[in-house]
Symmetry: C2
Subunit: 798 residues, 2 copies
């Protein structure tokens, strides 16, 4: 749709080299717009243009001062950014690694396995604890706020001058949201939004800068407390998942780079393979804590992350999920003064649907499917509106102060709209003794009655959802519900994408529950014998599922999460059918909300399979060529020059044995990563020096682990003129058996290998084993099925 | 442990060439015991010895007459049989395949996708229907039986002569079991047992002969009805899973080879890749129907089968599971005269544990863990006893008639033991109006009372489990429970492995529920204030989980199945901890029951990862070499001779370009399968003939699909002397881009590639791309971690 210039991004506030108001895409001076023909005949580019160094993190932290002049990023969902790097899920099995593994006894492996379990237990525990803190903080803050406002409203209802109550409410909301927005906008923009798109990308294998930092976690937690307490139409579930992932990334490394503290434990886990596994567990623990759905959490992690399914890993992920739910329940039970009662579910509690009272019948299934279609339509509408809004924000709302002001505006408007609707609503309901509402507002209702619109707005969204599911028939009148649906839909749509830490799950559920209940009430009214439709809570549930499915388009894990959150497996089939329908209908119009935001960030996201009609493409057309290779024993000057070349910025270098005719590419004998070479350079592992200081200790795997994950940039390593003349022997450090494919391999086959093994570099060889190209994530992510068949996205050096 | 001669096996009744009473392993005339050194220096064997043709199926069906002289199979759990072949999960991307894929439009792929969903829906529907039939048949048959026996007992209780009742009972049981055993032993031995080990192997990628045949399904269904109705200590859940898998394999192919009927649909799915995916769905549907656990079913399939996780596939599997539960519920609701009430769970119904009434507390968790350890111990004991019994059976009980007699004996003994125990029990309980027992036996109790021992025996095992879970405290006295546990333990152990179609899930649950309830009662009696322990049903549940976990050692899926079957997610953590403890304790002594039976069949089963300490092995040591290769254009005589060589029996042949020095191995340019060559030979695709009949149609993918999966043996293809002089051009039919690894690749790396992509042949090349070896399933499955580190299993040509 729009080809615009991006001024906000997930990760950076424009702290890199770029300057003024140019659109680099359109004046290719530094950043070159790379357009490659599909046929591949004229499309031979230097691979350097297709990959970039992942050192931004460090630059970022150094240059935090350069604020307020955001770099413009060419921005289009048909572009792939070269800024993002892959994680190395494939171990580099070099000699050091193999020696370590061979030295390790069986007991050593067993200890490792036990420490993996311990780490997962810790992840679950901490995630549950954080969830518990968030929950308690939100409950208390929101409680105080609603109490004050209620007091105020009640005072002024009698004496008149309710506008003062409105102002009080709006100011309270804005104040909370301001705090939340300021910490996000000024301290850690990576903590904005729900975090689910970022975690999806991370689990997919894309290294999103700063996404699993401690600072992000802190800002995320405080941000979400503020935004929920500030009465925005947001949920705290997405941020919980992100928090779990950060906890996992932190705990598993046994140190904190931000706090400069190394506990000297879990050093074995300091590589992408292990870290990504733990982050899966963390995300699962987050889901588990958020929804009380440990199985749903595991499936979420698998759906988003796993490529190669491993039983022990899944089992560990499940353990983390279980511990997380358990911890949350345990602490909440203490908080609720019923210590030891572990049967309460997660943060979000849909309440239990009893099969006896809320049974469904086979002839209701078509109705559920219709609701699924409605959910798909409304979800698509939501996503399209939010897409436009995001584009608008990228164009015009990119300065932190503007972002904070927008968030405050939304908070004030939310309060105003709520207040107006409560004010003008005349839906009075009798106050029953078993009243579940915490803050029933009488307002202009008769004594013994309360304003039903007020219960919907005057509550945290979680409680409103539960009321819609479980309040007895007749608790809401249709007009209230329809007005509520409309306003909340617009508010939620406006809210998602603000520079606050907030999720979209609960607002979606709330919208869906509202129109679902409305649907149920209408059904009951048009059928003569309304007894079977008399359970509007059932329709509220289905509507909630449909709306959420229509917005986020998750499938398996969402079904299980819904089933677990309702505690009733018999709703499995209807929920599944509804989610399928919502997805099919929604996908017809637009992608899911998370995918839209991922695409808007131009992330090279790999789907499950190559596009169906891509069999006519082969590795030869897909790969990047020619490749910069190193020899086994290479001159330091050559290496430093290649690494320093900012226009190429390679990350993986095939190591080759040159063949006779020097023009021909060499035969592959290994693959070495930039990060490895950096460590070698830092430790001056040169052939000449090795001879002169034989007694000195050999470089060990530990040296690589200590530098992980923030390897210094090449610029920070001083290489003297003498050293430039030395030679480096890469044999010991390269991966001697990188995966290779012949040139004729079809794209789906390359894709499958790449995806299944979580590769970062795949070497393409000819039938003499000579290196002819290199396939990286961008080369595969470029192809996607558009409306007119296979399309290729452009790569942008941003 | 024992190195014995096997006379019964899963698949064959000795219908192959083998003869008398020799032990081939010990007189290596035809079958050579292949002992290979780990170092690999002297271990160069002709690869033919390491693989065998998978044509046994057809020979079997032809030669069913050769019965009663079973072939002896060298038999040891430290052996790997060469009889089993891998499935080809990797597509052979030859020119025909690529042409078809490239021709196919996007709509074509979409239609394929839709038909996959339709097939999954059908699989779910049929599996649910079969489950429903089994359930209704068992209920009715068992009902009639118990009614008759009860009448008889009541008649004779007064007049004396209860021995006549005993005889009646024993005869009825034996009659049912005889029918069940006869059809299994004489018609389809593959239908014996629970079928889960076979399905595990199939999903692991091993082609188990006859396991997914229509005949197997029919025998399985009737067999399980007979054995459950015959009162054996068996369940119908394992067979349900097997049935689902057979249904899937049948439906997805759109034809029945057994019935000689081809519906000409789903032809695209006629290859191992697609079939295995559908079988996963079928197994999941089976679990789902058996336990009312659709999510558990999906996880079962993934735990056992999936290597490469694919979201769409999982989603389809889930769909099949859902449909299966739904179908079962729908038909059962009609049968129970409450049409449309879909809220009843699967075949096994644990009843709902309400969190309010059956809460647990944090200080009970150590108790649960202790119970897990007990379950692990008892499970290990069960497995060891059953292992010895299986060895005994393999040695002495190998003729069908003996097997039938053993089954009848067990049935009679079961009846006798039950009767004796009921007779001598004096555990009388008052008959309450809300009595849930169907057949309360008064026997010698006072009027208005019933014999509590009788309820445990005089019931289908499913009902007994439910009674143990849900009957109020005081329904059973401790003595009854302990005697019951002991006898049922022994009976169940004796029963598993009989030549009847029967599962071990329910008996395990029943044993565990009995001692778990006993545990709860004892706890209540030793604590002064017994109120908190007063819910023995809770301990029955934990005990059931512990015992089942101790026997089968499943983890993730079993947790979810138990949680879904109890309908209460709050028991997730205790059940998980219990299963983990049971697995850890049990694994210390002996493997899981299914794994024992898989090992006793010498199946080359690939675990999730290579043994931890195998990094010092490389592809060079692991591979089989030298390899029989073909040239691109090869003489027919050479091909026919290689294929006919029964001492080699290769299945995959690298296609090479010869290099100058003719002794050197050629450069790899493709891989062709025996099955493909067979089809080529059958259609006389010779270079010379192609020239003479240019107008004739080209060989198409359809020809290969029509022959799938029962490719004719080479012996059945007549090749004349003239034709032997012709040449065959393999270029078009070979897979031009087989996966290759260099010789130095470490075993874990080879293993990961092989397992993740579901390969059958992995070519090992040197740095000139010359073929130096071939890695197949057996080469990888040979290595396992024994008590003294890495051990290597021997290969046996059986």
């Amino acid at each position: 749709m729009a080809n615009i210039t991006k001024k906000v991004s997930w990760s950076s506030r424009g702290d890199e080299s770029g300057g003024g108001e140019r659109t680099p895409l359109l004046n290719g001076s530094e950043e070159i717009r790379i357009t490659r023909q599909l046929s591949g005949d004229g499309g031979m580019f230097h691979i350097g243009r297709l990959s970039t160094v992942d050192l931004e993190e460090d630059l970022t932290s150094e240059e935090d001062t350069v604020r307020g002049c955001p770099k413009e990023i060419p921005h289009n969902e048909k572009l792939l950014s070269l800024k993002f790097e892959s994680l190395d899920y494939d171990n580099s099995e070099n000699q050091l690694f193999l020696e370590e593994e061979r030295r390790m006894s069986f007991m050593g492996f067993r200890c490792l396995e036990i420490s993996r379990w311990v780490v997962c237990g810790l992840i679950g525990f901490l995630t549950g604890l954080i969830a518990c803190c968030i929950d308690i903080a939100v409950e208390n803050l929101a409680g105080v706020k609603y109490f004050v406002v209620k007091q105020n409203i009640e005072k002024f209802t009698e004496v008149g001058g309710l506008s003062i109550s409105l102002i009080l409410w709006a100011v309270l909301n804005s104040a909370f949201v301001m705090v939340g927005a300021v910490i996000v906008a000024f301290f850690e923009p990576g903590a904005a939004g729900s975090g689910i798109p970022q975690i999806k990308c991370y689990l997919n294998g894309v290294k999103i800068p700063r996404v699993v930092r401690l600072k992000t976690l802190v800002v995320k937690v405080f941000g979400v407390i503020c935004s929920v307490a500030g009465g925005l139409a947001v949920g705290k579930e997405g941020p919980m998942i992100h928090s779990g992932a950060v906890v996992a990334a932190g705990v598993s490394q046994g140190r904190s780079t931000s706090l400069k503290k190394d506990f000297k434990i879990f050093e074995y886990f300091r590589r992408d393979t292990e870290k990504r596994d733990f982050v899966s567990a963390g995300a699962a623990a987050g889901v588990s804590a958020a929804f009380g759905a440990p199985v749903g959490g595991v499936l979420f992690s698998l759906e988003e992350g796993a490529s190669f399914w491993n039983q022990m890993l899944t089992w560990r992920i499940f353990f983390a999920s279980m511990i997380s739910t358990f911890t949350l329940n345990f602490f909440l039970s203490i908080y609720n003064k019923k210590p030891g009662e572990l049967s309460s579910p997660g943060l979000i509690n849909f309440g239990r649907f009893e099969s006896e009272s809320v049974a469904y019948n086979i002839y209701e299934i078509p109705l559920f499917i219709v609701m699924g279609a409605i959910g798909g339509l409304l979800g698509a509408l939501f996503n399209i509106l939010n897409y436009w809004l995001t584009i608008f924000r990228i164009r015009y709302v990119h300065r932190p102060c503007l972002q904070v002001m927008e968030a405050m505006l939304v908070a004030a408007v939310t309060a105003t709209v709520s207040f107006t609707m409560i004010y003008f609503s005349n839906d009075c309901q009798p106050l029953r003794p078993d009243q579940s509402e915490d803050y029933p507002l009488q307002l202009f209702c008769a004594d013994g009655q309360y304003n039903s619109m007020a219960t919907a707005f005057f509550n945290t969204p979680e409680r409103s959802v539960r009321s819609l599911f479980h309040n007895p028939p007749g608790s809401y009148n249709p007009l209230t519900l329809s007005v509520f649906t409309l306003t909340y839909f617009l508010l939620a749509c406006w809210t998602y994408g603000l520079t606050v830490s907030a999720g979209v799950f609960i607002p979606s559920l709330l919208i869906g529950a509202a129109w679902g209940r409305l649907f149920g009430i209408l059904l009951a009214s048009i059928t003569p014998n309304g007894s079977i439709w008399a359970v509007p809570g059932k329709y509220a549930l289905i509507g909630a599922a449909a709306q959420l499915g229509g917005i986020v388009r998750m499938t398996l894990s969402l079904t299980v999460i819904m089933v677990e959150a309702t505690g009733n497996v018999t709703y499995g089939l209807p929920i599944m059918l509804v989610l399928m329908t919502a997805k099919i209908v929604g996908d017809y119009f637009v992608e899911g909300l998370y995918d839209i935001h991922i695409k808007l960030q131009s992330v090279p996201f790999l789907h499950w399979e190559a596009p169906a009609t891509s069999h006519w493409l082969t590795a030869r057309e897909v790969m990047s060529a020619p490749v910069t290779c190193f020899k086994r024993i290479e001159k330091v000057a050559t290496i430093v020059d290649v690494l320093s070349n900012t226009s190429t910025n390679h990350n993986g270098f095939p190591v080759v044995v040159p063949v006779a005719a020097s023009d021909d590419p060499g035969k592959i004998c290994g693959l070495i990563l930039r990060s490895q070479i950096i460590v070698l350079l830092k430790h001056k592992v040169f052939v000449e020096l090795a001879r002169s200081r034989l007694t000195q200790r050999k470089l060990q795997l530990k040296d690589f682990r200590d530098a992980y994950p923030r390897f210094p940039p090449i610029q920070s390593i001083h290489v003297s003129q003498d050293e430039r003349e030395c030679m480096m022997d890469l044999t010991e450090f390269m991966n001697p058996t990188p995966y290779t494919v012949p040139q004729e391999t079809s794209l789906p086959r390359v894709f499958k290998l790449f995806r299944a093994l979580g590769l970062r570099h795949l070497v393409v060889v000819d039938n003499e084993n000579r290196v002819v190209g290199l396939v990286t994530r961008k080369d595969l992510a470029r192809y996607h099925l558009g409306k007119h068949g296979l399309e290729e996205m452009q790569l942008a050096q941003t």
